[in-house]
């Protein structure tokens, strides 16, 4: 049923349809609306049997999830940003133990400086943890991906993280076609664990493994992710046949048939990029978009194929590896090596900075003119950066840069107000 609904609410109600048995979380913006809504449903008895556990930290939230999943319960949690980093030891542990926990990551920047708005630094920080990471482009897809995530996680015994852009998706109210319980029940069978804590059939889970077998254990985890490359599109197709929703899969292309310039991105920014591409297409430029839904496992072959006709590949991402450049760009560059395509890394939208269609149009035009640098920071205020660099050069005790920049921009703002 199509409803005007907040993204968080759509996710919460869809998670509820998946019949989770243990839900455990700790509050952090912008994930909180999801957990509040699930918690309210559990409290009202709508999800029985289900335990909702309020804990003292994200580290505990993931740890409770590890215990409940290992004891055979379908387990869900959600977090963002600092919360993900606070639980990171347990995030790796859940993957290492092969526990099919599903977690929503409402993507948010990581401090310092503290910032509650959207970027993808949090997801990238756990890129190598062994979790499957799926990125939603819309709230419809965010909701749908949770159903697919439980199916995928439990089939493979691998935890799955559904990444949705904080505020941009979590707090946006838009039309979402909500599923019926019977549809979800038909798609998602009850959880049948591969390993479980059972006093009547006792096993040791979490034994110490030395050099004699550690590499094999890790390689098996890699193989399960390679299996996921097969299962993700198959599950998405089955889901589409059942619901009519084209959600999930590995990659999705838009107007790439004859494109010589293709923009690659993750998440909700794909919508804006498509708008910019439409405009540039009208100007006669052959530009297209490839959205990556499955970031881990990285669908190298599908990405290579989707980009096969392009000579210029612009990887636009809301995160970067400080001291090097784009994270996604590195992955893309690796899989297209040997082709003639040139890969450009564009860092954009950090800490919630709006990525506008106008900026993207300029970027595409710049690229077509051959003026794009290998590493670009979109809409960077270079003058403000230069002024801070000058302050640092002139005074040893120049003070905290973040505060200096705010003061600097504040006086700029005051000056511009004074002029008008």
């Amino acid at each position: 049923m199509l409803r005007q609904i907040e993204g968080s609410r759509a996710v919460a109600e869809t998670v509820a349809l998946c019949r989770p048995e243990v839900v455990c979380a700790y509050p952090i913006s912008p994930q909180t609306h999801i957990i509040e809504a699930v918690g309210a449903m559990v409290k009202a008895g709508l999800l029985s049997p289900c335990e909702f556990i309020n804990v003292e930290s994200e580290f505990a939230a993931m740890s409770v999830s590890i215990g409940s999943s290992a004891a055979g319960a379908r387990t869900y949690t959600a977090t963002s940003s600092q919360g993900l980093l606070f639980m990171i030891e347990a995030v790796y542990n859940a993957a290492g133990l092969g526990l099919p926990i599903v977690m929503t990551l409402a993507n948010r920047a990581i401090g310092a400086p503290i910032n509650i708005w959207n970027d993808h630094s949090d997801a990238m920080a756990v890129r190598d943890s062994g979790w499957i990471q799926l990125f939603a482009e819309t709230n419809q897809e965010a909701a749908d991906l949770h159903v697919q995530a439980f199916r995928l996680a439990e089939e493979l015994s691998v935890p799955v993280m559904v990444c949705m852009d904080g505020f941009i998706l979590t707090h946006a109210v838009e039309g979402v076609d909500m599923l019926d319980q019977s549809v979800v029940d038909g798609f998602l069978p009850p959880y049948e664990p591969r390993q479980v804590l059972d006093p009547n059939d006792p096993v040791s889970i979490g034994a110490m493994v030395g050099p004699e077998a550690f590499e094999e254990v890790r390689y098996l985890a890699h193989l399960r992710q390679m299996d996921a490359l097969e299962r993700i599109p198959a599950i998405a197709q089955e889901f589409e046949e059942l619901t009519g929703h084209a959600s999930g899969g590995l990659v999705r292309s838009y107007r790439t048939e004859d494109a010589d310039t293709i923009v690659v991105a993750l998440g909700s920014v794909l919508g804006t990029i498509k708008d910019a591409v439409d405009v540039r297409r009208q100007a006669g430029e052959r530009v297209g978009v490839v959205g990556i839904t499955s970031f881990r496992p990285f669908p190298g072959e599908a990405v290579r194929e989707a980009l096969s006709g392009a000579s210029r590949i612009i990887v636009l991402e809301k995160a970067f590896s400080i001291g090097f450049g784009g994270v996604l760009a590195t992955d893309v560059a690796l899989v297209v090596q040997g082709s003639n395509a040139k890969v450009f890394s564009v860092v954009a939208g950090l800490g919630g900075r709006a990525i506008t269609r106008r900026s993207l149009e300029d970027l595409l035009a710049q690229s077509v003119r051959g003026e794009l640098n290998p590493l670009t920071f979109l809409d960077l205020d270079q003058a403000a950066v230069d002024r801070e660099r000058a302050r640092m050069a002139s005074t040893r005790r120049s003070g905290p840069s973040a505060e200096n920049l705010l003061r600097d921009l504040g006086s700029d703002y005051a000056a511009s107000k004074a002029q008008t």
Binding site: P49, C50, I53, A71, G72, S204
Partner: protein
């Protein structure tokens, strides 16, 4: 549950072998039907107090729950020596996740058992003192505060022994560790630091808190049994001497544990809902020197340049414990024939 300790005329002591006891009073360990929760073949050091304590506690918990038990283990000696891949000494359902999260993992197991309709399955979480008072403390306090249905057992050997004997928040004053060396004007660990976790646990008003040592097997088993009769958060703090870290002879583990209690340095008691309900009185009040001299971690207090001033400060701590818990009910040094435990 009341136990009336008796002096057995056959041996002239309160402590006897099981053969002098009625069947129902015999220990779980003496039964051929015990679980052997931790089976032979593990790699604990000779004289390890922790593996003794864990074996007693878990076999007792297994009997109390008719075998319907899951154990969650923090990282540490107990986890490392029991599960070198591909072997395991555990004959019970056992999960190890991380160093600092055993209480939370146990909460998750208990929650899953409830929703799965298996509420007869009970959960024990266990850790060393580092995993309890230091790195696991946040999760432990959270588990206590929510009154989750978990028995948490701390096997306290007063330091980070698995990583090579470093100071923890449970290391006693003056003790030498690798991070509190016996040098300078105040050799060893400093005075005035550390956490008294049984009292912190009691401050959470949880239904059951108790301490025990590996010197009194009957007492330890009975405390586990009592804990398993109760639902909600329960805490058992077991003193387990570590020959490696304490520098003691491996055949002195039980003796040293007994002296810890008899000196008053380690008070043995039980509390329900934040109030002490029973104490194990000191039978032969012993000066702390007798306990300290058996351990090389205190060697700098004796020998060629002795530090009687520091020994006196440790004696003060023991005396304060004796006063706080009323550990001496009659004249010091006299046998206490009428002790009653509730």
């Amino acid at each position: 549950m009341t136990r009336q300790p008796v002096r057995f005329y056959q041996v002239g002591s309160f402590a006897v072998g099981n053969r002098l006891l009625n069947d129902e009073d015999r220990t779980v360990q003496s039964s051929p039907n015990r679980t052997n929760s931790i089976d032979s073949g593990h790699r604990a050091c000779q004289g390890c107090g922790e593996v003794l304590g864990a074996r007693y506690a878990l076999d007792a918990a297994m009997r109390a729950t008719n075998g319907q038990l899951v154990a969650v283990n923090a990282t540490g000696c107990l986890e490392v020596f029991s599960t070198p891949y591909p072997e395991t000494s555990w004959r019970i359902a056992w999960l190890h996740s991380l160093f600092g999260n055993a209480p939370a993992v146990a909460t998750g197991v208990a929650a899953a058992m409830r929703v799965k309709g298996k509420s007869e399955v009970r959960v024990v979480a266990q850790a060393g003192d580092g995993g309890t008072v230091d790195i696991g403390f946040g999760c432990l306090s959270g588990m206590f505060e929510r009154n989750d249905d978990v028995l948490f057992i701390c096997y306290d050997n007063e330091g980070y022994m698995n990583t090579g004997v470093q100071r923890s928040g449970a290391t006693p004053p003056a003790a030498r560790t690798a991070t509190t060396v016996a040098a300078g004007p105040e050799p060893g660990n400093v005075f005035g630091q550390g956490k008294d976790l049984p009292r912190i646990a009691m401050a959470h008003d949880i239904p059951y808190v108790a301490t025990a040592t590996v010197a009194d097997l009957h007492d330890l088993e009975q405390k586990v049994e009592r804990a398993m009769e109760i639902h909600g958060a329960r805490y058992l703090h077991v003193l387990v001497p570590c020959p490696l870290g304490w520098g003691s002879a491996s055949d002195e583990t039980i003796h040293i544990a007994r002296l810890a209690k008899e000196t008053g340095l380690f008070p043995v008691f039980a509390a329900e809902h934040g109030r002490v309900t029973s104490v194990s009185p000191i039978r032969h009040r012993t000066p702390v020197e007798e306990y300290l001299k058996l351990q090389r971690r205190y060697a700098h207090l004796f020998g060629s340049s002795p530090r009687p001033d520091i020994v006196a400060r440790l004696q003060e701590i023991a005396d304060e414990n004796i006063a706080r818990y009323g550990l001496v009910t009659e004249e010091a040094g006299e046998s206490v024939a009428s002790e009653v435990r509730t």
